[in-house]
Symmetry: C2
DNA sequence: GCGACGCTTCGGACGCGGCCGAACCATCGC
DNA sequence: GCGATGGTTCGGCCGCGTCCGAAGCGTCGC
């Protein structure tokens, strides 16, 4: 045989649709009960239980017992990273599931992707941010512009704190439902936090779906409008 | 079902030992004939042929016909990245093959991992950089210290340019042969470029292996020694 | 040309692994 | 305590996918 890590064992672990569904559901970062995992994966409870046990044994997942519930979650960031890498690759080479229909309309509209926003609202926000010169997308990746930096500082974000962390401030993340990029990185996470704190939206309990408040969606999208332009637009609005 | 990329298809593609062996063999960057792939994978020619066809159809591999030979190679860098991510994860969670012997000594000593250095020399460099306070490793990740920043500027690296790019400057990347981290990120790439430009080492043609010049290895490792300490050490050397 | 070689396609056998129903165990509410 | 609920273990069924031998197709050497 060969030296090196047993990529095949890991691959076959991720290669089962039921397990992949479970992993994808847990990618949102929150813990799910065994029953919820079974529902996500579309298999019976016993089947899901077996899969979960294998994933835990492989140290990809962690269990936390709470009363008669068992909460499963991704064991470590590098697990999420590897799954994310595979998702990106799968999307690029065109390995997309056959029925990409809107299983859950709310999920397609807006959801959490790990710690930042995804879905239609998020891709629209990203496009508007690029359009308005707040972030610059290049072949290298995506970066905050000087204009964008000043804008988000004025919006109350501690951009300097974000820049001090090793995590990239801006990253584009391919949206699976939209097939267009949305904003990830620490800025993406900060925006998700900001919107939650200001009551624009909240996370649907035990799900990744995002529920907007009446004015929340507009408030979020307005984040992509620079102050000077907004001063002009505001009086124009009804 | 769900929306999103078909991570399960991709996973099951990588989840077969024969295919994983082929991928791992091709990770070295050079193209292999179908027969060589079969030998690497330890299966018969017909079996390997089937696997190769599936990998090509999934766009993970490319074929190049040359006379009566067929050369297969990794289709794109992101395929290698995903495989590398899986190798790192598999190594961390302890999924290692039974016989981890050094199949290719040169590859274990030093190689390119995407655009930065990996292998024994790279992990030693990383350890020394942490030891000497040039980079700081924390739970959050790894970051360049003020001291390290000044050091690399003095070494001739345009650190400000690296910081301006969206890509993280420092990232730790788990080395699959060493099981210890080495430096990735734009700084890791810049160091690899620097060493190549200064003739410390060069990339083995059509492979990921690194060939050091006579004094190259020492010169590379000296990069982790801060200037003030080096002034003391130099006269002490023979 | 003809054989040798490299590779692929075809057909059939085998085995691993996923799946569920039923039974079993643990915890919660009352 | 007692049912109800959530989760896991067991047993058996079934199907997909891997594997190889044999045969077919193309290319190279002489």
């Amino acid at each position: 045989m060969k030296d090196g890590p047993d990529i095949a064992r890991l691959g076959s672990l991720l290669g089962d649709p039921a397990r992949a569904n479970i992993l994808a559901a847990l990618m949102a970062g929150r813990a799910l009960t065994a029953g919820e995992c079974a529902a996500e994966a579309g298999v019976s409870a016993p089947t899901a239980s077996g899969h979960l046990a294998r994933l835990v044994e492989a140290r990809l997942l962690l269990v936390e017992v709470q009363g008669r519930h068992r909460y499963y979650r991704i064991a470590a960031p590098d697990v999420a990273e590897a799954v994310e890498a595979m998702m990106g690759l799968a999307a690029r080479v065109g390995l997309v599931r056959t029925r990409p229909g809107p299983r859950d309309a709310a999920m397609r509209a807006a959801r959490f992707c790990y710690d930042h926003l995804a879905g239609e609202a998020a891709t629209a926000l990203y496009a508007a941010m690029v359009e308005n010169g707040l972030v610059a997308a290049s072949a290298e990746g995506v970066a905050l512009t000087l204009r964008g930096r000043a804008h988000f500082v004025a919006e109350g974000l501690d951009v300097a704190a974000l820049e001090a962390r090793p995590r990239p401030v801006c990253r584009s993340c391919l949206d699976w439902s939209e097939r267009r990029p949305h904003l990830a990185g620490s800025l993406g996470a900060a925006i998700a936090q900001l919107g939650t704190a200001r009551g624009w939206f909240r996370r649907e309990s035990a799900s990744r779906a995002v529920v907007f408040s009446p004015a929340g969606r507009a408030a979020l999208l307005a984040l992509a409008i620079p102050q000077e332009a907004r001063a002009v637009q505001r009086p124009a609005a009804p």
